[in-house]
């Protein structure tokens, strides 16, 4: 069976990269003694997939992974066993079986919602105030890192939602599909540039709140439609 697990990547693990988190999950699965399936072949590995790689530096509130199991396990049992095997800052908080032949989670992700808080108070206010004029633009150029270097892209259509909360924390939903994908850091740089700031070494706290998928053209939480 395929099990869907929602997990949280805590504050302390912000700087741990995606591959390291993946390895930690694999080891936790091994510790859990759950009947996890292994790939065939010379170098058997656990069949585990993440919906999306986590950027280094971000906290994850609701990340998704899928695990292949050799025999059926009750979702509550899965959650319990995993949490016994996981370190404190990495916890599963919900599980359910996935339809056996559905597409991989990774293929279903369309967007993600984020919270980004610039730590410097003045700068945060300034950026907050500039949002209306920022969103009025039809074209927002940003630099996207690619394999062969950097290229300029227009991220305006990828900003599905952008709003500042009362304290200036940015609440945003950014598209995340293969061809059309905008990272929070790209948006932040554009915002800073919009404010005439060229130094991008701004300190901020970043949280990914949700991964989103599409259901009949509406964006929904990925865990609800997968």
């Amino acid at each position: 069976m395929r099990m869907l697990a929602l997990f949280e990547k805590g504050e302390r693990l912000r700087h741990i990269g995606h591959l390291d988190i993946m390895r930690a999950m694999q080891r936790a699965l091994r510790r859990s003694s759950l009947p996890v399936s292994y790939s065939k072949g010379f170098n058997p590995h656990i069949l585990l997939g993440f919906a999306s790689a986590m950027p280094v530096g971000a906290v994850g509130k609701c990340e998704l992974m899928e695990v292949e199991l050799d025999s059926d396990v009750d979702a509550g049992e899965f959650e319990k066993r995993m949490n016994e095997a996981l370190p404190e800052d990495l916890k599963v908080f919900s599980c359910r079986p996935l339809p056996p032949h559905g597409p991989a989670l990774m293929a279903q992700v369309c967007a993600a919602s984020w919270h980004l808080k610039i730590l410097d108070d003045d700068l945060r206010r300034r950026v907050q105030e500039s949002i209306p004029s920022f969103l009025e633009k039809d074209e927002i150029p940003a630099m996207k890192k690619t394999k062969s270097g950097e290229k300029e892209v227009n991220i305006r259509p990828m900003i599905l939602h952008l709003e500042a909360e009362e304290d200036g924390t940015l609440d945003m939903t950014l598209q995340m599909e293969e061809s059309q994908s905008c990272k929070p850091s790209m948006l932040l740089e554009s915002l800073l540039r919009h404010n005439g700031i060229q130094d991008f070494s701004v300190r901020y706290a970043l949280t990914r709140d949700h991964l989103l998928g599409r259901h009949h053209d509406t964006l929904c939480y990925l865990e609800d439609i997968a």
Partner: protein
């Protein structure tokens, strides 16, 4: 957490955003815990004087970390040497060296313990104390500062660190560590002055407190006398020996790092000590006698460690695992037990004999990594001098086996600068590589793996205390460099051989500190003040600054590295009873000069001295000496 902690936490977070490899400093790994601080009566800061990746690969650290935390009244937290970028930020932001667990500063701990694995880590000890706001010199430390202890193989010549370390623990740490923690805990609660703690520590067998001794020198720089400053201090300090490894503490859980480290696996120490008697090998003599863990105990440990870590690799560790009595059985049992879990067992590479071949092929098919052999010297004569019991035919046989078994990559370890070495011995190394190359081509093409790779590494010999070569001079820099060049040219002509050698400057400094005396503490301090840190990392090693430090302190490094000692010279470590006697070592030295070998003492006790401790060595039978 208190306010102070919050503030520090925020500053640490800010630094982590800027450094490379922040995962070295984040903590929170599986099987680590933040034990309640206030409930503990003793807080132990375990310091590994190198980077996280190196320190976390070290088995001894994991044992002691588990041991101290297993005590209800104690907290043990880890510290590592920060990389240069992090160190610079910490200094700039005035954030003290903080522990991996609760992020508390080093100076908050009741005691801190350094593990001394190699001489080139000594400046890191100073750097860590400095960053952690602990006075560098023992004599400057206040009543409420941590007691600084150290252990590990380099503690067998503690003198170069005598100014900085309050107490050294010699030998096996499993028992003495607890004696030391309890003594410090009681002293801390007693309110007595620091000196009382020093005296109390010196009463524990295996503990050396340098401030209770003083050394005088002859005009030529050699030692005249080492004197006790307090009558109660022992004249000789005898190393600790854990007699039964089966009852000795071993952790059932070990921390599992997020980031990849050097040895990222379960290490099962199957035995301790070695009876082979290689004359250059300090570990082989320091860890005598040989003690084995039983099959049952090893299986029990393997099962619980696999369960608690989720590691997919188990490696069997010891100085010469091939000598473990029931090796084949152990491996078979492990393979059988962990078949379902897809655990792979890394083997001591020297024992690819026929019993194991089959089971090996079954599980190791995916990892044909390179096999390692250590002939150490190029000719039989020189191998006899160093008592390395490997013959050329042995080696060729094993290498052929390996090539037939599907390996195509072989590593050969050599040493240059061994006592009595001549040109012929260097030629012998090249010869051996040539023969290994030929072995490969004798295996029919369709039966061997593609891409022959022979890596020949030559390290420079460093004479060490408590070995038969403790009296001999090291080769000078010029000699070593000449030999390296000579070999480089020779090896070039052999197909498939990749030759590399170690920086001889590092070995030079290592030689100074390995056999140094107390006065070297001044050089160490000065070198550190000039900016020497992380000397084990080639890119950071500043030989020039070290030489300046020697010069400014009026000490000659050649005196320590290149000088032959006479038999009656008082050596800086003579006050330590490491089990093996000076007489035995001298006898071995004389035999080496005549290229006479000493057989493995399991086949007959050679009277190394350990036998005088009743019941400690299971191979020493009365009358065989």
């Amino acid at each position: 957490m208190d306010l102070y902690a919050d503030r520090i936490d925020d500053r640490i977070e800010a630094m982590l955003e800027k450094v490379q490899k922040a995962s070295r400093y984040t903590g929170g790994e599986m099987n680590t815990q933040v034990k309640p601080w206030d409930k503990a009566r003793l807080h132990y800061g375990f310091c590994f004087p190198d980077t996280y990746e190196v320190g976390m690969s070290h088995l001894g650290m994991k044992i002691l970390y588990g041991l101290v935390n297993a005590q209800e009244d104690s907290v043990c937290e880890r510290f590592f040497m920060p990389w240069t970028d992090m160190k610079a930020l910490m200094e700039e932001e005035q954030v003290p060296l903080f522990s991996m667990e609760s992020r508390r500063p080093l100076c908050d701990f009741d005691m801190i313990g350094f593990t001394l694995q190699y001489e080139m880590s000594y400046t890191n000890i100073l750097a860590m104390m400095d960053l952690g706001r602990v006075h560098l010199l023992s004599r400057d430390r206040e009543r409420d500062e941590p007691i600084v202890v150290a252990g590990g193989p380099c503690a067998f010549n503690p003198e170069p660190l005598a100014d900085f370390i309050d107490a050294f623990m010699l030998g096996d740490g499993e028992e003495v560590t607890l004696d030391v923690t309890r003594t410090i805990r009681d002293w801390k609660e007693s309110g007595e002055p620091r000196m009382e703690c020093m005296k109390a520590l010196s009463q524990i067998p295996g503990v050396y407190v340098p401030s209770l001794y003083e050394t005088d020198y002859h005009e030529d720089g050699t030692i005249r006398e080492m004197r006790r400053l307090w009558d109660g201090a022992p004249e000789k300090v005898r190393k600790c020996v854990v007699t039964d490894l089966n009852t000795a503490y071993y952790p059932m859980e070990i921390p599992v790092p997020y980031t990849e480290i050097i040895h990222d696996r379960i290490m099962l120490e199957i035995m301790r000590g070695c009876t082979r008697g290689c004359r250059f090998c300090q570990a082989g003599l320091l860890y005598r006698p040989v003690r084995e863990r039983s099959l049952d105990r090893l299986m029990e440990l393997a099962v619980s460690l696999e369960k608690s870590t989720g590691y997919e690799d188990i490696s069997l560790s010891s100085l010469s695992s091939g000598d473990y009595t029931c090796l084949a059985e152990l491996i078979r049992d492990l393979l059988r037990r962990f078949k379902q879990e897809h655990v792979s067992i890394s083997l001591p590479s020297l024992r690819i004999d026929s019993i194991l071949k089959e089971s090996l092929e079954e599980t190791q098919k995916e990892r044909k990594t390179s096999l390692t052999f250590a002939p150490e010297a190029g000719t039989q004569r020189l191998r006899d001098v160093i008592n390395k019991g490997v013959t050329e035919s042995d080696l060729i046989e094993k290498v052929t086996d390996a090539f037939q078994g599907g390996w195509s990559s072989v590593k050969l370890y050599f040493m240059i600068g061994l006592p009595t070495e001549t040109c012929e011995d260097l030629d012998g190394m090249a010869d051996l590589c040539q023969k290994v190359n030929r072995c490969y081509f004798t295996v029919p093409k369709d039966q061997r793996a593609k891409g022959l790779r022979i890596t020949a590494s030559a390290s420079s010999f460093v004479p060490k205390p408590f070995t038969p070569f403790q009296w001999v001079p090291q080769d000078t820099q010029e000699m070593l460099r000449e030999k390296q060049q000579y070999l480089k040219e020779k090896m070039k002509t052999i197909k498939g051989v990749n030759f590399n050698y170690h920086e001889s400057k590092t070995s030079y400094l290592e030689a100074c500190f390995a056999r140094g005396d107390r006065r070297l503490g001044r050089v160490l301090l000065r070198a550190y003040q000039k900016g020497c840190i992380l000397d084990g990392w080639n890119e950071l090693f500043r030989f020039d600054l070290w030489m300046e430090a020697f010069e400014e302190e009026g000490l000659d490094p050649a005196f320590y590295a290149f000088r032959a000692r006479s038999r009656d010279e008082i050596l800086p470590w003579d006050f330590i009873d490491a089990g093996v006697t000076k007489e035995f070592l001298w006898r071995e030295y004389e035999k080496s000069q005549n290229a006479v070998v000493t057989p493995d003492c399991r086949k007959g006790c050679q009277g190394c001295g350990i036998h005088k401790w009743k019941g400690v060595c299971s191979y020493a039978h009365a009358g065989t000496v």
